[in-house]
């Protein structure tokens, strides 16, 4: 999911200073509760809402779950803007996307 939150470089969390070039930030759309697409956006509160079980994720601070049964933030995809002005990913997600499972290492 690509969201533009400002015109400046946007930092959602410490250590992610370079992940949001020109205010473009990207999150995985798979809810960390049961894997539904987090498809609703509450604009006033800047919350992403999952229509399945109403988990809400705060866009501005790294998609930390603020409400509902989801246990983890949505993983953020580090972005950069290349020389031609295209938005690209620096690399993949730093953790598995979607719901939890036994073999998942990342806390």
């Amino acid at each position: 999911m690509l969201i533009r939150v400002s015109n400046e470089n946007y930092t959602t969390q410490k250590g992610r200073e370079s992940w949001g070039p020109k205010g473009y930030i990207a999150y995985s759309k798979l809810c960390t509760h049961l894997g539904c697409p987090v498809g609703l956006y509450e604009q006033e509160l800047q919350l992403l809402v999952c229509p399945c079980h109403q988990s809400m994720f705060n866009v501005t601070n790294g998609a930390i779950p603020e409400f509902g049964p989801a246990p983890r933030p949505l993983p953020q995809l580090p972005l950069y803007i290349d020389a031609e002005g295209n938005i690209r990913a620096q690399n993949g997600y730093d953790q598995p996307v979607g719901p939890g499972f036994w073999e998942r290492h990342n806390v």
């Binding site: 509760h33 498809g39 079980h53 409400f67 509902g68 049964p69 719901p99 939890g100 036994w102």
Partner: protein, 513 residues
């Protein structure tokens, strides 16, 4: 010249056929070869006790018959494949879209196949009726104590049937591969994945790889139309066999004892009633299928892992699971290189596991606590067993609250409440209401036990006027069938002689067990 006289007149021909005519002759021929008369007679004379609540299981049976018939029709046109095709059917809003064959064929059934939409909607309605009537039938069996010795095995089979019905309902709901049902499969996958240690392997094994795979729909199809129906048919047969073998329970009343069965025989009374009932269930399902829209998949659109619809609920029998997933807090375990998603595993695996297992062992639990190891053929009135009734009501209230919790977002929208308040209210109500329901039910049962003439129909008072002009209201005695005392049964032969056929008033007969 032969001695055999060939009957010439119509009357003489008829006389030669015997008292039962051509049908009697045909049955005679069958009996000569297969010996069907003895067993057939026993079956025809099988006695069924009568009470309106005994029809609930019949609703389940007949809605299953409708499911089979409409389901067979649907298999002629449904294509269980997720291969993509460009839709060019008669539903123009979808024209030119790339959809799976499963979705395209389901839309085709709805718009192009003659009677297809009717069959689809009847199938869906019959499934909801099937599961619903099983639940109500089970409640009847529970509250009247019909599960007690010797019928524990049939309780177990019935409960298994309910779980299979729910499971097969979910599988069938998933087959159209529409946006809503696809999200349901996604959730089912995540639930399976949440099981510690084996979850990932189990999900890969069942769904044929990671989500969304191409194997899921074909697998669900074969499970839905062949394997689970066969298991269900087998268990239904066992359920009915045990019912016939152990004979149906009956409510206490005149002439009814633990050792007899008072009711109407299979032929002609019960057979006529139950066949009529099949047509009523079929008729109601057909009316629903014709006039009440259900699961309009063309409005939802094809499944796409990145898309989702808003405010969609699963079929009602999945509601309690969805509600539990909504209100359970986000407690996850993640340490030692492993994650246990308790926020999914507890409400979606542990909780239904506990509910169904308690239901499975309930007959044993009750035997243990009441030390009652007798054979019971007479049913309880729910008020006679206040503890059991109160426990049953508490569990039903608990599940109903979970069901209501599956629409927290709708409730919040409708009443203009904060979703947070609704969520916390439901968390509170799910835990508290069963504890309120138990003592209230217990108290009501106790009160009912004390009511004079409880369980008997009201009888009129005869008002008379004396010579002095005084009015007197004299209560009339209660109906003889309502008298609870055990009377001595009138011995009646198990085999009722065909000749002479004595007409029994109301067709009620009594036989020994």
């Amino acid at each position: 010249m032969s001695d055999v006289t060939v009957p010439t007149t119509k009357r003489a021909k008829k006389a030669a056929e015997g008292p039962y005519g051509k049908i009697g002759q045909a049955i005679n021929e069958l009996d000569d070869r297969l010996g069907v008369a003895k067993g057939g007679r026993t079956f025809m004379d099988k006695i069924f006790p009568d009470h309106w609540s005994f029809m609930l299981g019949e609703i389940a049976l007949y809605s299953f018959v409708i499911l089979l018939v409409t389901g067979i029709y649907l298999t002629f046109y449904y294509v269980p494949s997720v291969a993509h095709v460009i839709y060019h059917g008669s539903y123009k809003p979808l024209d030119g879209q790339s959809v799976t064959q499963a979705f395209a064929s389901t839309v085709n059934i709805s718009f192009a196949v003659r009677g297809g939409l009717l069959m689809r909607q009847m199938h869906h309605w019959a499934c909801d009726i099937f599961v619903g009537s099983i639940v109500v039938h089970m409640a009847r069996v529970f509250f009247t104590g019909a599960f007690r010795k010797p019928r524990e095995l049939n309780w177990t089979i019935g409960l298994t049937l309910m779980i299979l019905a729910i499971g097969n309902g979910f599988l069938g709901y998933s087959l159209p591969d529409d946006l809503v049902s696809g999200t349901g499969i996604r959730i089912a996958y995540s639930i399976m994945e949440s099981i510690p240690l084996v979850g990932t392997y189990l999900a890969f094994f069942v769904f044929g790889g990671n989500f969304p795979g191409t194997a899921t729909i074909p697998r669900f199809f074969i499970l839905h139309v062949l394997i689970l129906p066969l298991v269900i048919i087998g268990l239904v047969t066992a359920h009915l066999f045990l019912l016939v073998r152990q004979k149906h329970t009956q409510f206490p009343g005149e002439g009814k004892t633990e050792k007899n069965v008072v009711g109407t025989p299979m032929f002609p009374v019960f057979m006529a009633k139950t066949t009529g009932f099949l047509f009523i269930v079929g008729g109601v399902t057909a009316l629903l299928g014709a006039f009440a829209q259900i699961n309009p998949i063309w409005q939802f659109g094809p499944y796409d892992a990145a898309r989702i619809s808003y405010a969609v609920q699963p079929d009602f029998y999945m509601g309690f699971l969805d509600g539990a997933l909504r209100i359970w807090p986000s407690w996850s375990f993640a340490s030692f290189g492993h994650t246990i998603p308790f926020e999914v595993f507890v409400p979606a695996v542990i909780l239904p596991g506990i509910i169904f297992n308690i239901a499975y062992v309930w007959p044993m639990l009750e035997r243990k606590f009441t030390h009652d190891n007798e054979i019971h053929n007479l049913l309880d009135r729910p008020s006679q067993r206040p503890k059991r009734t109160a426990a049953g009501v508490a569990v039903l209230v608990f599940i109903s609250m979970l069901f209501i919790a599956s629409s927290t977002d709708l409730i919040a929208n409708f009443f203009h409440l904060s979703l947070n308040y609704v969520l916390w209210a439901m968390r509170f109500l799910v835990i508290v209401t069963p504890f309120i329901a138990y003592p209230i039910t217990y108290k009501i049962c106790k009160e009912l036990q004390g009511v004079k003439g409880g369980g008997k129909r009201k009888t009129p008072n005869v008002v008379t006027r004396t010579v002095e002009g005084e009015y007197l209201a004299t209560p009339t005695p209660s109906y003889s069938e309502d008298v609870m005392e055990e009377l001595h049964p009138t011995p009646v032969p198990i085999f009722i002689e065909a000749e002479p056929d004595e007409p029994v008033e109301s067709g009620v007969r009594t036989v020994d067990r």
